[in-house]
């Protein structure tokens, strides 16, 4: 086969994937009110965004939620990966299976199951319910990232540490943690992004006491066009891009 055909095809699909994103970024600087015609360059929508107090509050709420969800899921995820890697215990396959099911099942299935749990045990919907839900759907991704790192790990290192008198806790702290550090950072960034972007699960488990950004955007875009959303989307895009590049950089650097 000639070489230009696959290349042309790849280029075309990449163009289609990026056109909406480019349109969004360009229109975020549009001065026109209607949102469809070009009315000249302007930062008015960014201005409107930061002058909207509820919006800024939702931004902080989302950032704080993503930060805490990423941190907790990295902590628990790393311990889970270590347990799966090091220990033999009953029900290991069940544990693996549950993580796999969480990762594969449609978000909405997880969402309603958590809503049912929270309401039936009389749990107040708000920051804590969001945190528990977000940690749960981030967990499998952290476990996989850390497991991948551990699978290429020299088994003799922990043994040597133990022969030198280290107990499990000391060995984990001085040998394992340094080895899995890049995976921890990558897993944390992945969790952070997943949490920041989630709409489906948050729709079900958030309460009026804690409004987060994706839900605010959701209520805005359901009715008509809101130029502020272009500005907000652009900011989120830049933010995710930085996070993604950071995580790739960390992973690439650690491979050397």
């Amino acid at each position: 086969m000639s070489r230009w055909l696959p290349r042309t095809y790849l280029t075309l699909i990449y163009l289609l994937l990026y056109v909406p994103i480019v349109v969004l970024v360009v229109f975020s600087f549009n001065d026109s009110r209607t949102g469809y015609e070009w009315g000249g360059l302007s930062l008015r929508w960014y201005d409107a965004l930061f002058n909207n107090r509820a919006m800024v509050q939702a931004m902080w709420n989302s950032l704080w939620l993503a930060l805490s969800a990423a941190t907790v899921s990295t902590l628990i995820g790393a311990l889970t990966a270590l347990a799966l890697h090091r220990y033999r215990f009953r029900g290991k396959n069940v544990l693996n299976g549950m993580l796999f099911v969480v990762m594969m099942s449609p978000e909405i299935v997880l969402a309603i199951s958590l809503l049912a749990l929270f309401l039936l045990v009389g749990f107040q919907l708000g920051y804590v319910s969001l945190l528990l839900a977000h940690v749960t759907f981030c967990l499998p991704f952290v476990v996989i990232t850390v497991m991948a790192r551990l699978s290429g790990f020299d088994e003799r290192l922990p043994e040597a540490a133990r022969d030198l008198g280290a107990n499990d806790f000391t060995m984990t702290r001085t040998v394992l943690i340094p080895v899995i550090m890049p995976a921890l950072l990558a897993g944390w960034l992945l969790g952070f992004t997943l949490s920041l972007d989630d709409v489906v699960v948050s729709t079900f488990v958030s309460g009026p006491s804690y409004e987060i950004l994706p839900l605010r955007i959701y209520s805005m875009v359901r009715v008509g066009l809101k130029p502020e959303v272009n500005a907000l989307g652009t900011l989120l895009l830049v933010f995710s891009l930085v996070m993604l590049m950071l995580s790739q950089w960390i992973l690439l650097r650690s491979k050397r």
Binding site: P106, I108, A116, D168
Partner: protein
């Protein structure tokens, strides 16, 4: 032999992990199964007696229509993703290795950006006075704007746009593993290009196809915000019905039953995927 000092750490880790998964994964899912066979109750969400009414309601023509329409849109989405993704992954695996890293990166950038915002961006393009209609009008290709938004097509476009990377990535991984010598062997044994494709390439990439279908078909029935933004009230997904039953109509048994149908569909697809992988393993490939 393990010293006693090691035990507390191990026990603490296992209790934490098991506790989390039992309380936030197993228990909630059992609750949903339980709720699906209970009676609807406006005050406490669900109550006795145990009944299969919710499952009977799934067969109610009104809802059956919605489910079939949702399944149809999800199937179209999966088909379009496969038709675009298969040649895409194939082409990608033929590009020089050092470019592949960058190309994969470009593929997952959109995946890392807010899906709600990307769906909204499609609205800017598809609206009646949106960019696509304006462009076609000014080129003289159409005389009056087409109704693109709030159609079945718009929902499918939105879903394809969000889910395409999930089809491409597993396909790319099977094409990446496809060994050139099988293709050469097939050629040496006298098979033409078409015959090689049907008898060698398709069976070897089948696990990737099924993994892709699994990763696209199910979310394509659950992503309720896509019809909300692009589809209007007539093009609903199963996800919209579930959300509506849980958050507005307060009919938990029915919402739970619909969700269990989705879970069963997932189990079926996972089973098919496993089977296809095992078959290839047994044939010694």
């Amino acid at each position: 032999m393990r010293s006693l000092m090691q035990q507390p750490f191990r026990t603490a880790v296992l209790v934490l992990v098991w506790g989390w998964l039992l309380f936030l994964v197993l228990a909630p899912n059992l609750l949903v199964v339980g709720a699906s066979v209970m009676t609807r109750d406006p005050a406490s969400f669900i109550s006795l007696p145990v009944t299969l009414d919710a499952y009977r309601q799934l067969l109610n023509p009104l809802y059956l229509d919605v489910f079939l329409h949702s399944l149809y849109m999800a199937a179209m989405t999966t088909l379009v993703c496969l038709l675009i993704g298969y040649p895409f992954a194939w082409s990608l695996s033929k590009v020089a290795k050092r470019h592949q890293v960058l190309l994969i990166f470009l593929l997952i950038v959109p995946f890392w950006t807010n899906s709600l915002v990307r769906t909204y961006a499609l609205k800017l393009i598809l609206a009646t006075n949106g960019l696509l209609n304006n462009a076609l009008l000014s080129m003289g290709l159409i005389d009056e704007p087409m109704q693109l938004l709030y159609t079945e097509g718009a929902v499918v476009i939105g879903l394809v746009y969000l889910l395409l990377p999930f089809m491409i990535l597993p396909l790319y991984s099977v094409f990446d593993d496809l060994r050139e010598d099988y293709l050469r062997a097939s050629h040496d044994l006298g098979a033409g290009r078409f015959s090689t494709f049907i008898h060698v390439i398709v069976p070897l990439t089948l696990p990737g196809v099924l993994a892709g279908i699994m990763l696209v078909l199910l979310p394509a029935m659950g992503l309720f915000f896509v019809p909300d933004i692009l589809g209007g009230s007539r093009n609903l997904l199963v996800g919209n019905v579930i959300k509506n039953q849980f958050l507005d109509a307060r009919n938990w048994p029915f919402g739970a039953a619909a969700s269990i149908m989705l879970t069963l569909a997932m189990a079926f697809l996972m089973f098919a995927h496993r089977l296809s992988k095992r078959r290839i393993g047994e044939e010694g490939v």
